[in-house]
Structures are given as C-alpha cells and as structure tokens.
C-alpha cells in the first residue's frame, strides 16, 4: 500500500488514539512505576526496588490448594490467579457456547424486525447489574423460584441448598451478564457472510455440515475471537459477581488487588500483582491467537 494510505489510516486512527492516550497513559504509567515502590502506612517510599516482584516469586513452604502445590512464601496471589483464570476460562467457554447458536439464529433465521431482536437482547442489561444479580439470587435462592417451583410440583420436600453460593452460581450469573457481549460480535461477523457463497457450496454438492465447517465457521471467526477476548479478559479481574453469589470462597485476584490498594495500604504490591496478571493474560491471549492461527486467518479472509 502507498504512503498516502498509511497517512489516511493514521489520521482515521488518531482521534480515538488521542482520547485513549489522554485518559489511559497516566494511570498505566503510574501503575508500572508504582510497582517498583514500597509503602508503609500511608507513606510511599519512592526508591526503585524489585522487592514486590521478588516477594511474589519467593519460594517457601507454600500451600496445597485443591491438590495443587503452590511453593511460595506468599502463595495467596498465585492461588487466586489460578482460581480466577479457571473461573474466567470456564465462564468464557459457557458464554460462547450458549451465544453462538443464538447469533447464528439471528443472522440466518431472522429476517423481519432484525433491529428489534437485537435491541431486545440487550434490554435486560439496561436494568442495573445489581438488580440482575439480585434477580438471580431470587431464582437460585433457598425459597427462590426454582426451589419454590420444585416444591410446588412435589418433586422435592426440602429446598435445594446447592444452587446458590458456589462456583456454578457464579458461572450462571457471569454467563448471563456477558451474553450480550458475545452474541453481538458473533452476530455481526456471521451476518456479513455472503449468502451466494453458501448457495454456491450447496450447488457444488456440499452437505449442510461441510458447508458449515468450510464456510460459516471460518468466516465467523473474527467475531467469535472478538467475543472470546471481550469476555475472557475482563472476567479475570472481575470480583463483584463472585463476591455476590459465590459464597465465602468467592475471593478472586481482582478482590485482592482492590484490597491491597484500599484497606491493606499496599498499593505497590497491588500494582505488581496487576502487572503480573496483565502479562499472564497477554501471554494467554497471544498463545490462543497463535494456536488457532489467527494471523494466517486474517491474511486469508482479508
């Protein structure tokens, strides 16, 4: 491409970039710099040190958590990191799995009132997050909708207690809160698939399944990947949902960071943990994109 095209590209990109730079630069620089400081009480010691990172990696007696040994002197961040990643990964798989067929339905089956369908999918999210979580608590709760319904039907005598305050409740609630963020990106990329391609494939004798595998699935990848990342990345740091419906075991790495910044007077350690978390997420995302051959895919369909 020509230099002129690069210039046009830059000028298109720059407004958004400038807004992001103006709002994002200071917090991110502060985060990085702070991770090399230390704090005692309300005083911050601004001498450069790697202590925070060293403490995160320092070997020690450690703990055994669900059969996994964490041989660190300060094992809590590592344990929470693993827990958060596992939770986020499972939630992402659930959400994408649930959302994909719906996006497909929207793109290929709905022809009338399409805009209405899409907006209706997001309306539950126009009510507040707290109210949605509250609703789920009523559904899953002790005298909640499911238990009362089952009791009324005579299927159970005592309310089921395992519905709420456990990882499954967290998963369901997370899946529900993020569903719009996965249906919409998948839908927009499915929807652009040229119908003539599909027809051509059938004309050439491809079965329904082969058509799906060779055309629909690959062409939906940009949206599916976008949705995966939009859900996986923020949910690693999320801690509100696990606290609200996860019960006493609902602590996540995000809550640790928040505690360190606020109550535990150790913002530098919080910063160091945030940075390690960000690097781990970046590495996992890179690995994921490499594994599914994202670069090649972009070239092929681009």
């Amino acid at each position: 491409m020509s230099a002129g095209s690069a210039r046009t590209g830059l000028s298109l990109l720059s407004p958004a970039f400038l807004v992001m730079a103006a709002t994002l630069l200071a917090p991110v620089v502060a985060l990085v710099v702070m991770s090399f400081w230390t704090q005692s009480g309300f005083e911050i010691d601004r001498t450069f040190t790697l202590d925070n990172y060293a403490r995160l990696g320092e070997p020690g007696e450690g703990v055994v958590w669900y059969g996994i040994r964490f041989p660190f002197a300060y094992p809590v961040p590592a344990v929470l990191m693993v827990k958060s990643l596992a939770m986020s990964l499972m939630a992402t798989i659930c959400v994408i799995g649930v959302a994909w067929p719906m996006a497909y339905f929207l793109a290929f089956r709905v022809t009338r009132y399409k805009a209405m369908w899409i907006i209706l999918l997001t309306i539950p999210f126009w009510t507040s997050y707290l109210l949605r979580v509250f609703s789920w608590k009523i559904v899953l709760g002790f005298n909640g909708a499911i238990n009362s319904g089952l009791q009324w039907l005579g299927l159970i005598r005592e309310p089921l207690e395992f519905l709420l305050y456990n990882p499954i409740a967290v998963m369901i609630t997370l899946a529900h809160s993020w569903i719009a963020f996965s249906v919409l990106p998948i839908y927009v990329s499915l929807e652009k698939i040229d119908r003539s391609l599909l027809e051509a494939a059938s004309d050439l004798g491809d079965s329904k399944w082969a058509r799906f595998r060779r055309i629909t699935l690959p062409l939906s990848m940009p949206g599916t990947i976008a949705a995966t990342l939009l859900i996986f990345i923020p949910t690693v740091g999320d801690y509100v949902t696990p606290t609200l419906v996860g019960g006493p075991g609902g602590t996540m790495v995000g809550s640790l960071v928040q505690q360190l910044f606020l109550k535990q007077n150790d913002a530098p350690m919080g910063a160091a943990i945030s940075i390690v978390m960000m690097l781990i997420i970046a590495a996992l995302v890179g690995l994921f994109l490499w594994a599914i051959g994202y670069g090649r895919m972009r070239k092929r369909i681009g």
């Binding site: 491409m1 095209s5 690069a6 590209g9 830059l10 298109l12 990109l13 958004a16 807004v19 992001m20 730079a21 709002t23 994002l24 917090p27 502060a30 067929p101 339905f105 089956r109 022809t111 009132y113 805009a115 209405m116 899409i118 209706l120 997001t122 309306i123 999210f125 126009w126 009510t127 507040s128 997050y129 109210l131 509250f134 609703s135 009523i138 559904v139 529900h176 719009a180 963020f181 919409l184 990106p185 839908y187 927009v188 990329s189 652009k192 940009p222 990947i225 990342l229 939009l230 923020p234 690693v236 740091g237 509100v240 960071v257 928040q258 910044f261 606020l262 997420i281 369909i301 681009g302």
Partner: protein, 267 residues
C-alpha cells in the same frame, strides 16, 4: 422468513427464557406487598412505585445515567469506527502496538484506572468532578469494546466495493457514506448498544469520578445499606425493563409496518 420449528428455533426460545426469565421476577416482586423478595407472595400493591417516584435522588441518578450513557455510546462509536477502519483497511505503521495499547482498559483493574484518572483530573488539570469527568472515564472504557466489535465486522469484507466506488469517482466521504457505513451498520448498532450497557452499569470508575451528581449504579450500591429501599429499586428496574421493551417493539412496528426484507444485512 420461513418459519421453521426446528432445533435452532427451540433453542432461541430457551435462550430468550434464560435471558428474560430471571428478569421477570423484578416486576413480580415490585408488585408484591412486602419489603423482602421471598415466596410465597403476599399480595398486590403499587406502593413501591409510589416510593420510587418520590425518591428524587434516584430519579436524578437515572436521568444522569441516561444522559451519560447516550452521549458516551455515540461518542465512543464515532471514535471507534474510523479507528477500526484504519486498522482493518489501511496499513498503519505500528498498528499492532497501538491496538494493544488501546485494549489496555480491558485488563487494567478498574480501581487503578479510576484513581489514576481522578488524580489527573483533580491535581493536574484542576477540573471539578462532574458528569463530564464520568463520561471521560466511560469513554476510555467503551472505545476498546466498540473497536473490537467494529473490527470484527469490517475484517474480511470485500474491499472491491469500496474500490469500485472510488473508481467511479466518488470521493472518500461519499464512499464512506454510501458504501462503508451501510456495510458497517450492524457493527455500529452493536457498538452503540454495548457501549451504552457498559456506561449505564459501570460502578468503580463512576464512583471515583462523580462529584455531587451521582449516576444510577453509584446510587444503587449506596442503597444496599437500607434494605427497606430495595423494593423501590426493583420498581425502577421493572419500569426500565418493561418500558423499554414496549418502546422498542412499538418503534419497530411503526417503522417497518411489517415489510419483510430479503436483504439479510438490512436493519
């Protein structure tokens, strides 16, 4: 539309049930004559709606959130669209690095973003906190979402249409308006909706960046200390839910008058 009652259709029905089922408990308990949301129901009342209407701080917070949400979703989509075009259509030097930087709000803990921005606004710029500062924070949060959605829409589109338009002598703006924008339309709408949801629901950044005008999530979190106020918030949630659903359906019916479209890209 050919009505096909196959597995996919059944799935869609279940999906909508999953999405709306729990939400429908909100209107149910907002009409229940009790302060706690437990079965069995106690009796019908409209008093919670009276409490809601009388709660002026809540109504102001709702109004503030609507204003911020609408402004932020439009602005962030307007900024994200050209940026997404640039990154999918043009070879921008350092594009990958720029994109990674712009995606940072997804991974940086929100407390860091919030306090960092607050320090910048108060101590460097010396601005008072207002709805504008909340909007600035939300803008930062929304742009990455908008860009991701728009890029997934624009990626892999046949460039020949835009080239043809240019070959026919249309200028850059005219090509954008006649060709690119219609192509991007579903992405634009999705981005508007997602950005609105994010802004409307965001708590941490909103809390730190609000001055004396609070937004709805900040207000609702603060109400948790007073359980007697809960049914009033349920009433508000129900009104939003039912009101907007009815509004959207009516608007669509009026707009389309039932004209079916064969063009799948047509919204």
């Amino acid at each position: 539309m050919t009505k096909r009652f196959d597995l996919l259709f059944v799935y869609a029905v279940f999906f909508v049930l999953f999405l709306y089922g729990p939400m429908l408990l909100m209107p149910l308990f907002s009409l229940n004559d009790g302060n706690f949301a437990t079965f069995p129901l106690k009796g019908f009342t409209l008093r919670h709606y009276g409490e809601m209407a009388a709660n002026t701080s809540m109504m102001t917070a709702l109004k503030n959130s609507l204003i911020v949400g609408i402004c932020v979703s439009i602005t962030s989509t307007a900024l994200a669209l050209p940026a997404a075009l640039a990154l999918t259509r043009y070879r921008v030097p350092g594009g990958g690095a720029i994109l990674s930087f712009m995606m940072l709000p997804l991974v940086v803990p929100s407390i860091v973003l919030a306090v960092g921005l607050l320090v910048v606004i108060l101590r460097i710029l010396g601005l008072p906190l207002s709805l504008w500062t909340v909007a600035a924070g939300h803008l930062m949060l929304c742009i990455p979402f908008g860009m991701t959605v728009l890029m997934s829409r624009l990626e892999g589109f046949d460039k020949s249409l835009e080239e043809a338009s240019r070959d026919l002598g249309a200028g850059g703006w005219s090509t954008f308006r006649r060709v690119t924008l219609p192509l991007a339309a579903p992405g634009v709408i999705s981005s508007l909706l997602l950005c609105f949801i994010i802004s409307f629901d965001e708590f941490v950044i909103s809390f730190f960046l609000t001055g004396t005008d609070s937004t709805l999530p900040v207000f609702l979190f603060s109400q948790l200390r007073f359980p007697n106020k809960l049914p009033g918030t349920l009433a508000l949630g129900s009104l939003i839910l039912v009101g907007s659903a009815v509004l959207v359906i009516l608007a669509e019916i009026v707009r389309k008058r039932g004209v079916a479209s064969d063009n799948p890209g047509d919204l």
